[in-house]
């Protein structure tokens, strides 16, 4: 793990001691191998705890709505930055209240992929850490690029699009279709698509980690927690699980920025972005809109065009 560069640490310390922010959210070394943990820094002298490396997977923007109206600083990767834009668009934050350190990110490491390479369960990883563009785990070395999350491999925005201070060398965005997995699913028959959807969700036990990790899932009362009416039951019936996942993902239609926080948070390794990315692709195709790019753009489902909007599906 790497401590932050001197200049960045000094900047954050200055923000804190000058009262520009009362809290800075970054990452610090955690207790689980290959997983940094969020750090909440309130005093200038504590900035030494902060780190940045390929184990810093949490999307810290998730915490922002909890500090609505407060002056907060935080570190964002390229994908996380889009979530900041999303929150600004939805009026959840005021830009003036934020101090953002934008990190250029080559991708974060997927502990499951490393464990698979080693042929062990992910729980058996120990002594693992990220070192530059390599990952060392259980005595073996891997190229970081080969063990990053799928969402990172499909990332087309490695550098944050909103920040006050930039950190790290800019990472080039590769060409290629980031929606290849969606198009592969589209090519299947309806039966096969359902089998894929239901098959993935077989492992879901409604722990709501996806919702809790999502930076855009900030409803005060989630429909899944509502008791009047009660939509979602804590049951093991596949229909209830499917219902929850359909409605949660659809609630992110036109809002999901594709940061992959839900997919990384899922303890069962469910490929949630296979479903959310379909919504992102359709929003792009139908309404020419990419979530998390323009803080002043209106979210696509809060606006309309009388003549030009897609109408062919209506009888």
């Amino acid at each position: 793990m790497n401590a932050l560069p001197q200049t960045i640490r000094e900047t954050i310390a200055r923000w804190l001691s000058a009262g520009e922010i009362e809290l800075f959210i970054g990452w610090e070394a955690g207790t689980i191998p290959l997983r940094a943990t969020p750090a909440f820094i309130r005093k200038a002298e504590e900035v030494e705890r902060l780190i940045w490396d390929a184990t810093c997977e949490n999307n810290l923007v998730n915490f922002l709505p909890k500090y609505k109206g407060k002056k907060v600083g935080l570190m964002v990767k390229g994908c996380d930055a889009r979530a900041v834009v999303g929150l600004l668009q939805e009026g959840q934050m005021i830009r003036e209240n934020l101090r953002i350190v934008g990190v250029s990110c080559p991708g974060v490491v997927d502990p499951r992929k490393v464990a698979r390479r080693l042929g062990i369960p992910v729980e058996d990883l120990d002594e693992a850490q990220a070192e530059g563009d390599e990952v060392v785990a259980n005595g073996q070395r891997f190229l970081l690029a080969e063990v990053i999350y799928d969402v990172c491999a499909d990332c087309r925005q490695h550098n944050p699009n909103i920040y006050d201070v930039a950190m790290g060398e800019e990472v080039a965005d590769p060409a290629g279709d980031p929606f290849a997995h969606v198009r592969a699913m589209e090519a299947l028959s309806a039966e096969e698509r359902w089998a894929r959807f239901a098959g993935e969700l077989q492992r879901c036990n409604l722990c709501y980690a996806c919702r809790n990790a999502c930076p855009l899932c900030y409803c005060n009362v989630c429909f899944a927690d509502r008791t009047m009416p009660r939509w979602v039951y804590q049951s093991d019936r596949p229909e209830d699980v499917q219902f929850y996942q359909i409605m949660r993902t659809f609630h992110l239609a036109g809002r999901c920025v594709g940061c992959g926080a839900c997919t990384r948070a899922c303890p069962q390794g469910i490929n949630l972005r296979l479903f959310l990315d379909k919504l992102r692709l359709d929003v792009q195709e139908l309404y020419g809109y990419v979530a998390g790019t323009d803080p002043n753009a209106k979210p696509p489902l809060t606006t309309y065009r009388e003549k030009e909007d897609y109408n062919d599906f209506v009888l």
């Binding site: 019936r237 229909e239 919504l279 359709d282 809060t302 599906f313």
Partner: protein, 156 residues
């Protein structure tokens, strides 16, 4: 609703969300004009097609509807000026999304029917009913079918 187990041909249950100002009045006109249409629809009157939350549609499928129809005023005719425009954006995405997840095309449909289009309402209902009949009973998301399968596997 209990159904006898004698060999009656299967008839689809279709839930229709009709907006108060256009489609519900259109359905009413179909009735008062004595136009025949399939009796498979169960109508829920809503203030506007924009009032229909996507959760209603998915919940209907879960509760055993074989098909869902949402119908509102024609573009430009919304009583609340723009409710149907918002609905259109939402449901274009929802329909594509459900299809992507493997819910057959045709289970969830949308239409514009005005208060003066009684005949058109009958046409829409006929078409949706035929589409759903072709697809057969809803197999996905349906907790009723799931419950039957669990309790007595041979009953289906």
């Amino acid at each position: 609703m209990t159904e006898s187990t004698t060999a009656k041909p299967w008839e689809p249950k279709i839930l229709a969300f009709l907006c108060n100002w256009c489609s519900y009045a259109g359905a009413d006109l179909a009735g008062t004009s004595r136009i025949q249409y399939p009796p498979n629809v169960r109508v829920i009157r809503v203030p506007c097609s924009g009032r229909v939350n996507p959760i209603f549609i998915v919940e209907a499928l879960r509760q055993g509807a074989d098909g869902v129809l949402v119908s509102g005023c024609h573009p430009g005719d919304c009583h609340y000026l723009a409710g149907n425009y918002y609905a259109r954006r939402r449901f274009a995405l929802l329909q594509r999304y459900l299809e992507y997840l493997g819910i057959e095309k045709g289970r969830v449909q949308f239409s514009w029917v005005s208060a003066s289009e009684g005949a058109r309402f009958a046409e829409v209902v006929t078409r949706v009913t035929e589409d759903v009949k072709k697809l057969g009973p809803a197999r996905h998301l349906n907790i009723r079918i799931a419950a039957i399968n669990e309790s007595e596997p041979e009953a289906r």
